[in-house]
Symmetry: D2
Subunit: 141 residues, 4 copies
């Protein structure tokens, strides 16, 4: 059995990402994790969200849970990378890990639990979890 494939996304910490303590304002790490999740899905061959919505009614991968351990601060000008993988399938939900590093230093260990979601047929203002697309499950078995 192959280990799950990962994808590495690159970001630059901007001046405006930092707070008066001159370090990254922490919600921005979740912003980068979210962006890394989408780049992971694209790397796995998943079509664009517009196509997913048009073909399958899937409107996104809303969060069930998100967490992060902050090990080292970063500041503006820093180049960071996010190593993303799916660590576990739990029925309709799945666990993504995001290891955020600056060079060899681990800055943040992040985790998101997500589902693929579509609008409910009986009430389009509500959403429901669907079985994750095969293409993602196959890419990361």
């Amino acid at each position: 059995m192959a280990a799950c494939r990962h994808h590495i996304s690159h970001f630059t910490v901007e001046f405006g990402d930092c707070d008066p303590a001159q370090i990254v304002f922490y919600p921005n790490y979740f912003r980068w994790m979210d962006a890394a999740s989408l780049r992971y899905f694209r790397a796995a061959g998943l079509p664009s969200w517009r196509e997913l919505e048009a073909r399958f009614g899937i409107i996104g991968t809303p969060l069930v849970d998100a967490s992060a351990r902050f090990l080292r601060p970063a500041t503006y000008g820093d180049a960071i990378d996010v190593r993303t993988a799916i660590d576990e399938w739990r029925g309709r939900s799945f666990v993504m890990s995001h290891l955020i590093r600056r060079g060899d230093d681990v800055l943040v260990e992040g985790r998101e639990i997500r589902v693929f979601a579509r609008r409910r047929v009986d009430d389009p203002s509500r959403i429901q979890a669907v079985v994750p697309p095969d293409i993602v499950r196959q890419w990361c078995a």
Copy 2:
């Protein structure tokens, strides 16, 4: 002829709205202007965006132009208010002014030129300007 009515929105400058120079990161002023625009429309009696979309296909009021003059800085903990009015109707577009103050001090003079927009019938991925709803024009003649 009555002068145009205005609406005042209140915000608090948060720690995370400020940058390493310890003053508001300036794009946040546009974020507050955008929020003030929507509160203005609601004060004018405009239904919610969801209702506007369901009834008229209006999906928002995209920007044609936005600008701001920055007169004084603000920092976290500051209570600010935004005085919003429609200064001019220009056919399908209109000019909104946003005067951002902390107490009596004017911090920012902002201006947005907007249109009300709906998706094009021939190509829903594109949008087009529509005539502004009467309820807004009447509130601010």
Copy 3:
């Protein structure tokens, strides 16, 4: 022994806080938790950060860990409140809970582990945890 006091902060979900799925873009919940933390400290009688820095060298309360369980989505126009308390003291770190609700509905159960920090004397570019100020410990025993 008195139970720990809590503080409730109020926010409005703005249009710009929501993503193309029309629900709150989740990193914004952490933005509100961070703002709620500071309002909690202010309610507890803690001086402003500027005064804390001038008097004690304390530059903020950086995060050790942050997490959230997302139970229900919210969208623009929603009024939300965040009920914040300190649940546990762990030496120099402490656990804050943030219960985010819209009316009676719990939307998010959030948690932050923080420390009070100052710049290191031997290297001002690095920070170190300090013992939390008495005023906070006494308010929330």
Copy 4:
């Protein structure tokens, strides 16, 4: 006389940068312009802000004025580039232009008027404009 040199910065529009109308939430364009300004200064040979503060007391380039004309919308997944130049020196202030494009399509024509600033000696809580560093003036004569 040589024309002013320009610098091109690259960004990706993320899902979280877009609003419920599925297009970029406009304050984010100013966020990208601000980031492009700093990359421009770095490309011009300006030292890091930390070094500028340590050596010259310069703490940033606060805005005097910012504006943007929005010509075409962008959405998530779009690769955009920002072409930045200094168009005019006006004593202590200077005018930066930011042309934001997706491929050959111009999306936004932005402009910022900035000054280099340091803390006032008589009152460090206030800032004052200083003469722009020679290295920037020489790079962009």
